[in-house]
Amino acid sequence: MNTKGIEPEQIRYAEWLRWSGWLGLAVLVGAFGLYVSGVLPPVIPVEHLPQIWGLPSRELMQRHELEGGWSWIHSLGRGDMLNLLGIAILSGCSALPLLAVTDIYLRRGDRLFAALCLLQVAVLVLAASGLIAPGH
C-alpha cells in the first residue's frame, strides 16, 4: 500500500493496532478451542450454560459467586476465564498504539493531540479498572 503523504503517526498507529488486534484474536480463538474441547475445565460447566445464559448478568454472578472486575485473572487455568484474556486484549488493544503515537505528537510540538491521546488512554484505563459499575 502506498503510504506516501500519510502522517507518520497514522502509520505507526496502524502497525501497532494490527499486531495487538491479531494477538487478541489469536488468544481468543485458541482459548475458545481449549474451552469447548474440555482441555481446560471451566468455572461454569458447559452443560449448565443453557440454564444460565438467559439470566441477567448480575444474577449469574450471584448464583455462581463470581466477583466482577479483574477477578477472572486469578482463574486463567479455567477454560471460560481464559477466553476473557483474549477479550481483554481486544478491548485494550488501542491503548498501546495511542501511547506509541503520543511520542510523535510531542516531538512535533503538537501538545494538544498528545494530550488527547493520553486522555483517551486514561478513559480506557478507567473503563478497564472495574471501578465503573451500575448501582444496585
Partner: protein, 339 residues
C-alpha cells in the same frame, strides 16, 4: 478453506449473474442464502427462544452457540456489501431469536463491532481514509459517554432496554432509508474549533485517482452528536457506524470515504470503553462472544471479496427488512406482546 468458500460463492455470484440477474448462478445464491436467513428469522421455534424459555430446552449446550456462529458468519458476509457494521445487525437479531439474555448479547455485540473495526482500522489509517485528527477528539467524547450508556443499559430493566432498542433499531432503519449521502460535501469554511484541531486533509480517491482536499465545519454540533452517539453505542451494544458516518458526512462535512474510514477508527475506541464495562460486570459470556466474533470476522472476509459482485442495493434492502422485523420484535417483546 475461507478462500475456497469465497471462490465458490464468487462463482455462484459472477458479475452480471449475481443478485440482480436471473441467471442460474445468481438464482443459486438467492435460493441458498436468502431462504436460510429468512428461515432463521421466521422459524416459529425461534420465537420461543426468548430468555426464560431456555430452561425447558432439551437441546445440547453447543447447539445455540453453533447456530450463533453460523448466523454471524452470514451476517458478516452481508454486512460488508450492505455497508453496515456487525453490531447493528447482531444485537437486534440475536436478542430477538436466541435464548441469551440481552446483557450478554450487548456485550458480544460491542466485541463484534470492535473486532470488525480493529480488522479494518490499520488499512484505513495507512490509506488516509481514516483521519486521526478528525477521529480522536470525537472518539474521546463518545468513549466517555459510551461508558455511561453501558452503565445505564446494565442498570435499566430488561423490558425498558428492549423497548428502547426496538425504537432505536426502527430509527436506524429510518436513517438508512432517508439519510442522503454526500460524496464531497460543500464546506464554505471551517469553524474555529475545526481549524484548531486541524480537521482537514487531502486524500487520494481510489476510484478516480484524484487528490481531494477537504475540510470540516460545525464541530461543536458534531461533538454534541457524538456525545449522544456514544450513549447509544454503550447502552445497546451497537457499533454506531450507522450514526457516525451521517454525523461526519452530513453534519460536519467530511467526504463520505473519510467519514466511513474515520468512523471505523472512532468505533475501535468507543466500543473498547463500553466493552470493558460489560466485561467487568460479568456481561460477557465467552460461549456467546467468541463464536460471534469469529463467525462475523470469517464472514466479513468473504463479504469483502464479494463486494464487487453482489449488488449492494439488494443486500441493503434485505438488511433493512431484517432490521425492521428485528426492531419490531424487540418492541413487542419489551411490551410483553407475544408473536
Amino acid at each position: 478453506m475461507i478462500d475456497s468458500i469465497g471462490s465458490r460463492l464468487q462463482r455462484l455470484a459472477r458479475p452480471g449473474s449475481g443478485w440482480r440477474a436471473a441467471s442460474p448462478a445468481g438464482r443459486g445464491v438467492r435460493r441458498r442464502v436468502v431462504p436460510l436467513l429468512l428461515m432463521v428469522l421466521l422459524c416459529p421455534e425461534l420465537a420461543d427462544a426468548a430468555p426464560g424459555a431456555v430452561e425447558t430446552s432439551a437441546a445440547a449446550w453447543w447447539v445455540w452457540p453453533l447456530a450463533l456462529f453460523v448466523v454471524c458468519f452470514f451476517l458478516g458476509i452481508i454486512a460488508v456489501p450492505a455497508g453496515v457494521g456487525g453490531g447493528v445487525l447482531f444485537v437486534p437479531l440475536v436478542s430477538g431469536f436466541f435464548p441469551f439474555h440481552l446483557d450478554y448479547v450487548r456485550g458480544a455485540g460491542l466485541l463484534v463491532a470492535l473486532s470488525s473495526a480493529l480488522a479494518a482500522g490499520p488499512s484505513l489509517l495507512r490509506s488516509g481514509l481514516a483521519n486521526m485528527r478528525v477521529a480522536l477528539p470525537l472518539a474521546l467524547i463518545a468513549s466517555c459517554s459510551s461508558m455511561f450508556g453501558a452503565l445505564l443499559g446494565l442498570a435499566l430493566p430488561d423490558s425498558v432496554v428492549r423497548i428502547a432498542l426496538g425504537i432505536a433499531i426502527l430509527g436506524i432503519v429510518a436513517v438508512m432509508l432517508l439519510a442522503r449521502k454526500s460524496e464531497y460535501p460543500e464546506v464554505p469554511s471551517s469553524d474555529r474549533l475545526a481549524l484548531a484541531l486541524g480537521m482537514n486533509g487531502v486524500f487520494v480517491d481510489g476510484a478516480s485517482g484524484q487528490q481531494v482536499a477537504w475540510r470540516m465545519h460545525r464541530t461543536p454540533q458534531g461533538l454534541a452528536l457524538f456525545l449522544f452517539i456514544g450513549v447509544l453505542a454503550g447502552m445497546f451494544g451497537l457499533g454506531a457506524g450507522w450514526a457516525n458516518v451521517p454525523a461526519l458526512n452530513l453534519v460536519m462535512g467530511a467526504p463520505l470515504k473519510v467519514a466511513a474510514g474515520s468512523s471505523s477508527f472512532i468505533l475501535s475506541l468507543v466500543d473498547s470503553s463500553a466493552a470493558w464495562v460489560y466485561l467487568n460486570n460479568g456481561a460477557v459470556l465467552p460461549v456467546i462472544a467468541a463464536p460471534s466474533v469469529i463467525g462475523m470476522m470469517l464472514g466479513a472476509k468473504i463479504g469483502a471479496r464479494l463486494l464487487h459482485v453482489l449488488k449492494a442495493s439488494v443486500i441493503r434492502r434485505l438488511v433493512i427488512v431484517m432490521l425492521l422485523f428485528a426492531g419490531g420484535r424487540a418492541l413487542m417483546v419489551g411490551l410483553g406482546i407475544g408473536i
